[in-house]
């Protein structure tokens, strides 16, 4: 890797106003790396993805992932390898399993419960409310506000 960079530096260095070289040599590999790295956690950072981090360890891990891509491993194989080594902690998209079921279904359970409670409450409410009780005070206010609005326009 480093000697490759050296060669690149040597080749492109003297050529002024030349086109800068991408950091990775193969754009397709870099694209896949990026695709994977945005969902992986930089393990030594506070809360950063592997793609965003500049930490040396993240750099190392990126290099490893890059090598695995070059070795033509599938995304799944690479992720399995990383999980094997670092645990689920490395994944920003938690895998669906027994302990994370609640995490994944929770939001939709919340929505369903919310919608059901809403529907039931409204139905029950419709039975209890016979007529809209507009108080005298509210009437007076409405009159007052209408009068004010009228004056203005």
């Amino acid at each position: 890797m480093i000697w490759l960079a050296f060669i690149m530096a040597f080749v492109s260095g003297p050529v002024w106003a030349g086109e800068a070289q991408p950091l990775g040599d193969d754009p397709a590999v870099e694209a896949r790396l990026k695709h994977l790295a945005v969902e992986l956690r930089c393990l030594v950072c506070q809360n950063q993805t592997l793609a965003d981090s500049n930490a040396p360890l993240a750099e190392d891990l990126r290099r490893e992932v890059r090598e695995m891509i070059v070795k033509d491993m599938t995304d799944k194989e690479i992720i399995d390898f990383l999980v094997e080594r670092y645990g689920d902690f490395v994944l920003y998209r938690p895998p669906l399993k027994a302990t994370t079921t609640l995490l994944w279904v929770g939001p939709f359970v919340l929505l369903t419960v919310g919608a059901t409670v809403l529907a039931i409450t409204l139905r029950r409410r419709a039975r209890r409310v016979v007529d809209a009780p507009v108080t005298d005070e509210e009437h007076r206010r409405v009159e007052q506000l209408l009068a004010e609005g009228g004056k203005r326009s």
């Binding site: 260095g13 945005v38 506070q46 645990g87 409410r125 409310v129 016979v130 609005g149």
Partner: protein, 663 residues
């Protein structure tokens, strides 16, 4: 000496807060107006005392008094004055003081703008705020004293985290806290109404402007934090679903639901019980946010201010506030009347459905934020919940909410007619769908998400146009501008805030869909092209800042042979903490940002460089500002001014710019 005065002022403030939190509430319960009358002077005295404490700490920072532990820990003699002052809230103790100071500021505002309230209501409100203040003052004085001395004094301070040495630090935390703490007013109104049993439309009308002001501050505060992260952290993202960001976003979601629910309570007398619950929820989430950030249970980019020891106090405080208010709620809420009847398909119904979606979204964010903590605590393994989770959960919940956002303002109160609504909205729907399908092709790339995002944004705008057109048809006036003027400002505010959401969505969608980035290795004189712009690297220079040294790169940017701009990204080294910071250079624009950040130096003066072309990214923050402006416009509505003009000439500061703009 000065720090001791500050410390003493805090102790006095605690005494005053205890009086303020007890006598007026008791007075209101037994109808003793002498006791109730204590509330106002007590609140003002407390404001003054905390102001003194705040200024004392500011003085210690300005004077570089490193015999104060907190100053020594978060400041340095090399640090410029404005950052030394911003360092007041640079870590835990001072943030708490800022919290309390802003709480008393809101209290002071309540004493100014509450002359039209019945005395029992006002004293209860101030009493409740006093109780909240007791909690915070007690916290500071027992476990988190910003005035603690360091003897012997440190020769120099340990410096403010370089990450925080940015203009964003001066303004973002105060704005955010204005929002967070502002919900304490809505909370106090709700608790006061529960205590007094007068939960009615008048209560909603009174607390509405307060809630909206707080919401505006929170919106701006969050947007600023996001913008700050965008340019400071150097990887060009604007939202990371970081736990601490979530901590500020959850009260925002609850607050947004609250604003809409209050509208119904105000206009139609409905949803009272729900509105009260939302008010409690919004403030509880603000407190929870404080707990999450300050207790040290989270690892995040914001973890500069953590300390696990204090978690227990906040947790107990949280339990008392949330538990107490929910108990009160359970006890009093069932007695509240129902308000007017309405059918499921009505503006009320849609607002309520929107509320359910917002709260479900809030719940999901809460779940995702706390889940890893619970798993870890129960020893069930360590997991990370990050952007992929939140994106896939949040978007499906918000999409229907945004759809309803277009329909709601057009639906009648009480009972709306679906076929009629469909007829009125058909062209808006047609235009949105067609544009959303075609536009991405025109722009050269079609993905389902891109289309969906555009659909939602255009839907909001087109429905807003329909709404406005119908509104204008209903008001009287001789010519167009007269009729425009006859539409109330709160209505304009609503439309504007909704359009702000559309602008925001356009920003998010376009950036996600079309941003390009490139990691290159650049020798001096080499060029790289991204998004049609050519960047030429002209080398780096060593620069010496006030408290850092930097390598500053120079990039000539051109497009089609014409110079666009010159960008100077920096790689700074702060010697005190020996930290390296990346200062990205950005050329902002209405349609695109150009973003350069320096990576690592390579051999021969070459650098690894990260270049981004980010279309429409500024629309994200622009949209937030428009939302906040909409809120400001709504509170400048004449019905609030009418109520006030009789009593007070002044208005809340945030309403002023908006008013000038329209008037």
């Amino acid at each position: 000496m000065i720090p001791e005065i500050g410390h003493f002022a805090l102790i006095l403030a605690l005494c005053v807060a205890i009086v303020q939190g007890s006598l007026p509430i008791y007075g209101a319960a037994v109808g003793n107006s002498a006791l109730m009358a204590v509330a106002k002077p007590a609140a003002r005295a407390q404001f003054l005392l905390v102001l003194i404490a705040f200024c004392s700490l500011g003085y210690a920072f300005a004077e570089k008094d490193f015999s104060v532990l907190y100053v020594a820990a978060t400041s340095n003699s090399q640090l410029p004055l404005h950052y030394r002052l911003a360092a007041i809230w640079g870590a835990h103790e001072g943030s708490l003081l800022l919290w309390t100071f802003i709480l008393t500021l809101w209290m002071f505002a309540v004493t100014l703008f509450s002359k039209h309230l019945p005395e029992t209501m006002r004293s209860r409100i101030l009493g409740v705020m006093g109780l909240v203040s007791v909690g915070f003052l007690l916290f500071m004085l027992t476990v988190s004293n910003p005035f603690e001395r360091l003897i012997p004094a440190a020769p120099d301070g340990r410096d403010l985290n370089p990450l925080l040495q940015d203009p964003g630090m001066v303004i973002h935390p105060p704005m955010l806290y204005m929002g967070y703490v502002g919900f304490s007013v809505a909370f106090a109104f709700a608790i006061a109404a529960l205590l007094g049993g007068n939960l009615d439309a008048a209560w909603a009308r009174w607390s509405r402007p307060w809630t909206t002001v707080a919401w505006c501050f929170l919106t701006v505060g969050i947007a600023m934090g996001s913008g700050w992260a965008y340019y400071e952290l150097g990887w060009g993202g604007w939202w990371f679903w970081d736990p601490v960001e979530n901590a500020s976003f959850m009260p925002w979601l609850a607050g947004t639901a609250l604003i809409h629910s209050l509208a119904v309570t105000d206009k139609r007398g409905g949803f009272k019980v729900w509105t009260v619950l939302l008010a409690i929820m919004a403030f509880s989430l603000s407190l929870l946010g404080t707990f999450l950030v300050r207790s040290g249970v989270l690892t995040s980019v914001h973890a500069f201010a953590t300390d696990p020891k204090r978690g227990l106090f906040i947790l107990m405080f949280l339990a008392v506030v949330i538990g107490g208010s929910l108990a009160l709620y359970a006890w009093r809420a069932p007695r509240v009347g129902l308000g007017g009847s309405f059918s499921m398909v009505s503006r009320e119904g849609m607002l309520l459905a929107n509320n359910v979606l917002l709260i479900a979204a809030m719940g999901s964010v809460l779940l995702g934020t706390l889940y890893p903590l619970f798993l870890d605590a129960l020893d069930l393994g360590k997991i990370s919940v990050g952007p992929p989770y939140f994106d896939s959960v949040f978007a499906p919940l918000m999409a229907p909410a945004i759809f309803l956002m277009g329909v709601g303002p057009l639906a009648q109160w009480k009972k709306a007619d679906l076929p009629d609504l469909a007829r009125r909205l058909k062209w808006a729907l047609g235009v949105s769908v067609v544009t959303a399908l075609v536009l991405p092709f025109v722009m050269g790339k079609w993905t389902p998400l891109l289309s969906l995002g555009l659909l939602l944004a255009i839907w909001i705008v087109t429905t807003a146009v329909v709404t406005l057109r119908e509104r204008l048809a209903h008001v009287t006036g001789d010519n167009f501008s007269d009729r425009m003027g006859a539409v109330s400002r709160s209505y304009w505010g609503m439309l504007l805030a909704h359009v702000g959401v559309a602008v925001f969505i356009v920003g998010v969608t376009m950036v996600k869909g079309f941003e390009t980035e490139s990691d290159v290795r650049m020798n001096v004189g080499e060029t790289a092209t991204i998004g049609g712009y050519t960047f030429r690297f002209d080398g780096t220079q060593d620069v010496v800042g006030p408290n850092y040294t930097a390598a500053r790169g120079t990039f000539h940017v051109s497009r089609d042979g014409r110079d666009t701009t010159i960008l100077y990204p920096e790689k700074r080294r702060y010697p005190v903490q020996n930290q390296v910071m990346t200062e990205a250079a950005i050329d902002p624009g209405l349609l695109r940002d150009l973003y350069v950040s320096l990576g690592e130096p390579l051999e021969d003066g070459a650098w690894s460089v990260r270049l981004y072309h980010k279309p429409f990214v500024d629309w994200i923050w622009g949209g937030c500002l428009i939302m906040a402006l909409g809120g400001a416009l709504a509170i400048s509505d004449r019905r609030y001014r009418l109520a006030r003009r009789k009593q007070e000439p002044a208005v809340a500061p945030s309403t002023r710019p908006a008013r000038r703009k329209v008037a």
